[in-house]
């Protein structure tokens, strides 16, 4: 498994049988490959699908079935199609159990930034703000640091926040943090990493769960 698959595999274990899940673009699109046996989830896509299935095999692509990242997908038994206003009514109205999203940064209170970069024209927001406002739980999947090695979990976001609403869980390629009213709590460290590495690569403050676990 590469580091992105490891993140996807760990977040997939948080999903419960029957959950309605909206998975964003990037790492979240890998999550369906790792859903444990015995757990059935229903994937919602903002452009109007409930019941997204696996990516199609080459040669079997239906150009009229795409996901939020505009990539071809399939639909599963029991799927439905609906218009964009209904789709976002589902999102804002609290009918989505879990949104799995990427982020540019997350601050030590759990607020995320994933839609705009200062100094660059802000020309895309899509469904990110709606999901943060309306999904019952928000799981953030990110690499622990940027490509240049800068921490993504920071004291204060440098980028504009996507919502005042905080995430519930942060899963990186090194560790898992719970977001609580008192801030971030480190609950798990991946076997290939260490507490020392996590401390070194995290700028935002966090506390350590007394029952800190090693995870795979």
């Amino acid at each position: 498994m590469n580091h992105k698959q490891r993140i996807a595999s760990r977040v997939a274990r948080e999903l419960k049988d029957g959950d309605i899940v909206n998975a964003g673009i990037g790492i979240p699109t890998l999550v369906p490959d790792f859903i444990p046996d015995g757990v059935e989830v229903f994937l919602h896509s903002e452009n109007g699908i409930l019941g997204v299935g696996p990516f199609p095999e080459e040669g079997n692509i239906d150009e009229n079935i795409i996901n939020a990242g505009k990539k071809p997908v399939t639909v599963k038994e029991g799927a439905s199609y609906f218009d964009s206003a209904s789709s976002f009514g589902m999102i804002r109205g609290g009918h989505i159990d879990v949104a799995i999203l990427g982020a540019l940064e997350i601050d030590e209170t759990g607020r995320i930034a994933n839609w705009a970069v200062p100094g660059k024209p802000v020309l895309g927001v899509g469904g990110a703000m709606d999901l943060l406002e309306g999904a019952k739980k928000i799981f953030i999947t990110i690499t622990h640091t940027t490509k240049d090695g800068k921490p993504k979990i920071v004291k204060e976001n440098h980028y504009p926040v996507t919502s005042e609403r905080k995430a519930d869980l942060i899963i990186t390629d090194l560790a898992v943090f719970k977001v609580t009213s008192k801030g971030l709590v480190l609950t798990e460290i991946f076997a290939h990493s260490s507490l020392q590495e996590v401390e070194q690569k995290t700028e935002g403050a966090f506390t350590i769960d007394p029952s800190l676990k090693q995870t795979n």
Binding site: P121, P160, E164
Partner: protein
Amino acid sequence: MTKIIDIEKAVSLIKSGDTLMVGGFGLVGCPLSLLEKMEEADLKHLTVISNNLGEPGKGLGKLVLQKKVKKGIGSYFTSNPDVVNAYQQNELEIDLMPQGTLAESIRAGGAGIGGFYVKTGAGTKMSEGKEVREIKGETYLFQEALQADVALIKAKKADRYGNLVYLKSARNFNPVMATAASLVIAEVDEIVEPDDLSPEEIVTPHLYVDYLVVRGGDGNES
């Protein structure tokens, strides 16, 4: 009475300076034959309400390159570098909205609702200049409804009355846009006999639809 016209006639109903709604999520569910015909038309200063402004050289992207579009109102323009470039050259104005707020503004515009309060964007840069209201202890932003002069939408099939059925995820913004413009032109893959459509399967009832054009066709279908 027939609503079926050819694509050229349909495009002649659009005027410079009009506000258009154009269906689609990316190019899926986008009325591409109508947009292609618009490339040949002498149109300018258009305001376009659409989730995206096409892809490089495709769909609305072509009209942006031709400088026919004055302003884009939508949720995600970064997937077309030509749009980013036109914006940076001050050739294109952009009004960015969260996707759900965009969809609901159009729905409201077609349903006789002047505006609504929505939580999305509260406390962010998106709330700048917006009226704020506390409702049951939570912060909401006021959003005005959107309407257009012309909606260009895409459906799978229509009967001659203008009842519409969509195809898979190509439905997206099309049904709401069908409700929110003074003139609604639907591009369809095929025209079927009225008894081929069950009243239960019709997503857009014909009262919303003014004209039908057949994708790639000359208007003489059925």
